[in-house]
Amino acid sequence: MDFLFDFLTSIFVQFQSPTLGFLIGGMVIAALGSNLKIPNSIYQFIVFMLLMKIGIKGGIEIRGADLSAMFLPAVSTVIIGITIVLIGSFVFSLLPGIKREDGIATAGIFGAVSASTLAAAMVLLEEEAIFYEAWVPALYPFMDIPALILAIVLANIHLKKQNEGKDSKVDVWGIVKESLRGSALSALILGLSLGLLTNSESVLESFYEPLFRGFLSVLLLVMGMEAYARLNELRRVAYLYAVYAFIAPIMHGLMAFGIGYIAHVTVDFSPGGVILLSVMAASSSDISGPPTLRGAIPSANPSAYIGSSTSVGTPIAIAVCIPLFIALAKVVFDL
């Protein structure tokens, strides 16, 4: 009862948070046919800024952090990413009318992580003054990369079975390298290194940090417009993708919450960290995952996984999962 009340209040507050407002605003103006557009270069720069901020801040914190406290959470993120892909692939294989590699690719996208969703959660935690270890957001590649690789491997095994003749080995290291070279992970790792190795507090505090919240608002606007624009893609594929994309974020997040809770009990992982871990699990990749999959599983239909992730998965993760996990944490950890 109390939990339900807390949750509903939290949802209500969240709906008044500008974070969510910008996302929904983007969807609404796109639906109304607005010609407003955020220039592509601004969008790219914003993504760069957000990831640099996450990276630098994480790097600075890791400098002074107890590495052993990071170990379990880091391992957990890997496990969560892999589990999501395995479960998702299995579920899709049971559903009718779903091409095998399309299902695997979609599971891969939901195993991977959305940086914008993660950033939205960070802002909300700061607004609610819930503490988290600054290195937690920087863990996201540990979930992202294994999930994408596993999906690619699974799809290739499947395709190999289909056409016995052609034997195409999966170049795992090649995929890892391509992921790390992608603009998103490059920025994050660059930021991490700068945070770790240089005295980057001043530039963080004078630039990357104060602009974070504002740039995030613009990014969420873009994401909202994109969510609407991609609905068409979703319409072309089986409606079961939409169902999956609706339910999966909540399930994945709850699973991660449980695993995070264990880390809380064992290595004193912070409640805020547990929330962020859950949000990572709930989120689905919208920026870097799709091109990776499109390159590595060419025969998978991008409309399936992009539509599911961008048009349903991300809005659900931001609008439902973030307030849900915050509310849950308040009850569970008695915040």
Partner: protein
Amino acid sequence: MTLHKAEKVVIITEKLILKGVCEIIEACGATGYTIVAAGGKGSRNVRSTSDRALVIEDFANVKIEVIVKYKTMAKNIMEQVAGKYFENYSGITYVEDVEILRPKKFNND
């Protein structure tokens, strides 16, 4: 100076596979190529030009032009690109007759 007959191959496809297409072009022996950002509509989708936020930038179009001296090389490029990519990726390719000024520039003989 006199003008010399040559062929211009044009490939319009997704930016994502640009690197692979350029490798084919070079492997076929062309001496260069020119790339232009493009948008468009085809059988698969509307692809936006690069001025609005492209959340997935690799899905924008590019237009690649290659001048080669002989039709055989032109056809070779077209067939390899179409064969390797156009089942799974958006794309078209065509060829035009052109006349060039300094044939040596386009020689790889």
